[in-house]
Symmetry: C2
Subunit: 270 residues, 2 copies
């Protein structure tokens, strides 16, 4: 199963492996595990405050810093493949990653979009159950799973932090399950977009603008539908004066409260 998917991914013209630590290596195609010389320090890390690293004792944090490596990814580059031996855990520093599962017949399910500060790649089993691909140019922070496990043993706070994050992910995952199981395409898309603005938006009074990093196909494969349906539904929202779309990657919520209704109601003027 995993094998087939991996093959499928590769047949689609898989891009080269990730460039690790930037400039010095960027021309070559380094093997995973190779390290570069531009190691960004944690002190300037944009997600320092809410990634795994947050809320962990100083000592643990320093040791985390020691085992970690930065990796740069270009758009659509694959970080790891479904079925690869799961040797590392990652935190996304910058950009956007899609975790995706390929079927042998070409169907694809985007399992999760990872946003900055979130981590991914931890498992019970030995192999990744999905591929990780950069949606846009991205930077991730890599932790060897073994080293992380050792640190978890030594510092229960880290273990507990990872547990909490896993639980939160489980809760999010259930939301998606509900979307996919019981909601119409319109409701799914509305929920999805709202989650994105609400996560991004700090100032509530500001005009609600959303810049989508991912394309329609990615969204469709996440929401269990097709790019055509996504386009149609967006057009319908536009027709109801709920949103406007100055360019395909930007959505402005003209009637934010009205739009919220779309999460539960689909029975309007379809």
């Amino acid at each position: 199963m995993g094998t087939l998917q991996t093959i499928a991914a590769k047949e689609l013209g898989a891009p080269s492996h990730a460039v690790i630590n930037g400039p010095a290596n960027s021309a070559a195609v380094p093997k995973p595990g190779q390290t570069g010389n531009i190691q960004r320090t944690c002190s300037v890390c944009s997600v320092r405050e809410y990634a795994i690293c947050a809320g962990v004792e100083d000592q643990a944090f320093e040791q985390l810093e020691d085992v970690r490596r930065n990796i740069q990814l270009t758009a659509n580059e694959t970080l790891f493949y479904d079925g690869d031996h799961a040797s590392d855990v990652y935190t996304l520093t910058d950009g956007c990653i899609r975790l995706v599962k390929y079927f042998s017949d070409g169907r694809r399910q985007v399992v999760r979009f990872v946003t900055p500060g979130e981590y991914f790649g931890y498992l019970v089993s030995d192999c990744y159950a999905y591929s990780a691909e950069a949606v846009i140019p991205s930077t991730v922070c890599r932790f060897p799973r073994k080293a992380l496990a050792t640190l978890c043993d030594r510092y229960p706070a880290l273990q507990s932090r990872m547990f909490k994050l896993a639980c939160r992910e489980l809760e999010q995952q259930r939301e998606i399950q509900i979307l996919l199981g019981r909601k119409s395409v319109g409701e799914r898309l509305a929920s999805f977009l709202l989650q994105l603005v609400d996560d991004a938006g700090e100032d509530d009074n500001a005009i609600h603008v959303l810049d989508l990093p991912m394309c329609r196909t990615d969204i469709a494969d996440y929401l269990g539908t097709t790019p055509e349906s996504i386009a149609r539904t967006l057009t319908a929202f536009k027709g109801d004066h709920l949103i406007s779309i100055p360019k395909s990657s930007r959505i402005i919520f003209d009637d934010y409260d009205g739009f919220r209704q779309q999460t539960q109601n689909d029975d309007d003027d379809w």
Copy 2:
């Protein structure tokens, strides 16, 4: 319909809360939190070997035993409601529990079926995000969340055990996401049934027989479809001589290998 029943039950002022600790109390209606005198001991617990309690140091185990309470549930009884303060974590000892989310318009999504040995109810947030209802008469083991958290602090192995179980659940959850997002009703049902037999079946050579604890409506609400579609799909499988259904709750896999194909193929004679 299961849906109406449960909603009705709730609106009518809720069925009595679970009977705690069996026989001595079974006539009365004890309040939650009250304890009875028939406290089954862990030593005879059927799931001792693979529940949270497994693989934990003796000392931690003894303390776990101290904070736990058994609770008996009758079929369709609700253990806790969506939105209740999440004060406890549970392990299912015997029976089957469905975790379910209700929409205001009557739609329902079964989020998970809990089988013996699994635990549920742990969260980051303060309130349960779903209701827990017994599918059939069931027994659960209740641990106060706070006490469990304290034990986790003291015994990292317990923490680590819970983390692993959460990760495994996350993996299962992803499988469901794929089912709901990209598979046809036939594929979903086949995957679902196979997961149940494979989990239950110890002996591989034996005839593959599956006794379903849950009704069609529950299955439909889990797989994002309708009871009618479930019935039709089962009939189709029967027509293809893949299964037989001596009674509605029992499925015999006449052509187990052929049936497995149905998880990925739907392009036969529909």
